[in-house]
């Protein structure tokens, strides 16, 4: 009886001790979350319903006027369209190429390490520094790309300086920069396929192409869906490269993307209420894709 009571108090004090320790160790994390996430999110919601602006001090409730402004603003839809275009092209080029290169790198070939390093190198260097190199590449007068085109007998292009090609030029840079990331993910996916599955298919007489289509590709599905969904989400967040390469949103605003639009409204024009409303719309778009991605396949962290 006495024994049991002692045990009980021990469990009780252990519980108390755990709670005390948790309180101490969780505090910094909770402070950052409240300060950098909860508070800003509440504020952005409030701001989106006011005429908050950097230039004036009057801040009054305006209802849904900011949202209506944004949804009736041609520039917003231009930015939306540009972002969709960017996302579509980048996703197809990026995912297809990355899968192809990963499959090649998965073979037992020489110089594998070198190939891997070469493809991944653009991922690790700072975006600003590398987009500055491409700025010169794209120079219509003295850039090497037009030189190469002329060697190939092709007409020279205006690259970032023409409405038609500016966004495509940024996409080309983005593919170069981001390809290695997806190659690594695909490669990890391919290497996690048990050799025995592949052997079994080969013993059954499957050609290498059949092994790829019937065994590898289906088993890669989770990685592929992850890459596509994250790709969409990340494309909607693109800002750095368009801002560095085309600081004024390109010719006829052809490189104005969603984030550039929000940034422009909030910080360049100082209309923070409108910027906040546009940011919330962007959030809703990204939220839908995030939910889809989570639904499509992901293990929940469990505490059991």
């Amino acid at each position: 009886m006495a024994m049991k009571k002692k045990e009980a108090t021990k469990v009780y004090s252990l519980k108390k001790e755990q709670q005390r320790a948790a309180a101490v160790m969780m505090t910094p994390l909770l402070i950052t979350l409240i300060l950098l996430f909860l508070l800003p999110v509440l504020l952005v919601l409030i701001m989106s319903f006011t005429n908050w602006s950097m230039t004036t001090t009057t801040r009054s409730y305006v209802g849904f006027r900011n949202f209506l402004f944004v949804l009736n603003d041609g520039r917003f839809w231009k930015a939306f369209g540009n972002t969709l275009f960017y996302t579509g092209i980048k996703l197809v080029a990026d995912t297809g190429l990355a899968l192809f290169i990963a499959v090649l790198l998965d073979k037992k070939i020489h110089f594998r390490r070198f190939f891997r390093i070469a493809h991944f190198a653009p991922v690790v260097v700072p975006i600003t520094a590398s987009s500055l190199i491409w700025l010169w590449f794209y120079d219509p007068g003295i850039g090497p790309l037009n030189q190469i085109l002329s060697w190939l007998g092709l007409p020279s292009m205006q690259w970032l300086y023409s409405e038609k090609t500016a966004l495509l030029s940024v996409i080309l840079f983005s593919v170069w920069k981001g390809l290695g990331y997806n190659v690594i993910l695909f490669l990890a996916g391919l290497q996690s396929i048990p050799e025995s599955y592949l052997e079994a298919a080969r013993i059954d007489g499957a050609s290498e192409r059949q092994v790829f289509r019937k065994v590898k590709l289906p088993l890669l599905a989770p990685v592929t869906s992850f890459i596509i969904m994250m790709g969409i989400i990340n494309c909607f967040k693109v800002f750095t490269e368009v801002d560095v390469m085309t600081p004024n949103h390109g010719p006829l605003e052809s490189t104005l993307l969603m984030v550039s639009y929000i940034y422009d409204q909030s910080f360049t024009r100082g209309k923070m209420g409108r910027g906040a409303a546009a940011a919330i719309i962007l959030f809703l778009i990204i939220f839908v894709f995030t939910m889809l991605q989570r639904r499509l396949g992901r293990k929940e962290v469990s505490f059991d």
């Binding site: 160790m25 910094p28 950052t32 600003t128 007068g141 690594i184 993910l185």
Partner: protein, 275 residues
């Protein structure tokens, strides 16, 4: 054997060589161009190999912009951010993984939900808050606003969960408090995880663009990604100087990357497949 291997995939190897060359080409161009003279640059057709190898462009970088200051700012800010972020995340992850406390699931969901919100959404109010707090053009402002710990906490949490409870119990029996358990049992047993998370955090902060762009006006407070842009001007950018600056910004990262390739790849596969 090696001959046999090579002959098995000649086209694969050839294709990968071409593709690798295309990926490296911009770096090669940068390296060569950093030594070009203005005459080389404006030559038509473009000159591929510089006519001499002098370091005048590098000297020019230091004359035009406070390059060392930008570099020092970037290193200081990213290192402090990484240390703080990993420390905060590791403690939180330990509490989530190994301690029992009220509201745990709710707090976890709260933390997870912060991952849904893109930077552009919070950056508008964060700027206002920072301005009110007088943090514009300060290191505190640069550092604190980007301590987004949710992701690194999740990453570390999944590692800490794999540490057997017996290890913790043994330390508890020896009379350790939970904080000592964290220091003496958890941290030493998850060096790889801490390393991966730190590398991930450092690269994120090193590349950071939007927040430093907004929160700094003073040239002296700019970080490298923003500072480099001072070399781009509306009227005739001096590309050769730009390349010298880019080279100095890129090479240290590339060198570290080549030595730590495995860790870099790991930080991608682990963080990538976790979210």
């Amino acid at each position: 054997m090696s001959k046999h291997l090579r002959s098995r995939y000649p086209f694969t190897t050839l294709f990968l060589f071409i593709s690798a060359a295309l990926m490296i080409f911009p770096f090669a161009w940068m390296l060569l161009s950093a030594f070009k003279t203005p005459a080389d640059v404006y030559n038509y057709p473009p000159k591929w190999i510089p006519s001499s190898f002098k370091f005048t462009n590098f000297a020019e970088v230091f004359k035009k912009i406070p390059f060392i200051r930008f570099y020092a700012n970037s290193i200081f800010v990213s290192v402090v951010q990484t240390v703080l972020q990993i420390w905060i995340s590791a403690m939180g992850a330990f509490a989530f993984a190994k301690l029992d406390f009220p509201l745990k699931k709710k707090l976890f969901a709260f933390m997870q939900s912060s991952l849904f919100v893109p930077e552009i959404v919070t950056i508008i109010p964060l700027f206002l808050l920072a301005a009110i707090a007088g943090l514009v053009d300060t290191y505190t402002g640069l550092i604190v606003a980007e301590l987004n710990c949710a992701f690194t906490t999740l990453l570390l949490l999944s590692f800490f969960q794999t540490i057997p409870n017996e290890l913790i119990d043994a330390a508890k029996v020896d009379g350790c408090g939970y904080f000592r358990v964290f220091l003496k049992v958890i941290l030493p047993n998850s060096k790889t995880a801490i390393g991966t998370a730190s590398l991930f955090a450092f690269l994120t902060h090193w590349r950071s663009y939007m927040w430093p762009l907004i929160i700094t006006n003073d040239v002296k407070m700019r970080t490298l990604p923003i500072g480099l842009k001072y070399l781009v001007t509306e009227t005739g950018t001096e590309y050769q100087v730009l390349m010298a600056a880019s080279l100095m910004a890129i090479v240290p990262v590339l060198v570290v990357y080549m030595f730590m390739e495995k860790e870099f790849v790991q930080s991608i596969t682990l963080t990538g497949l976790k979210t």
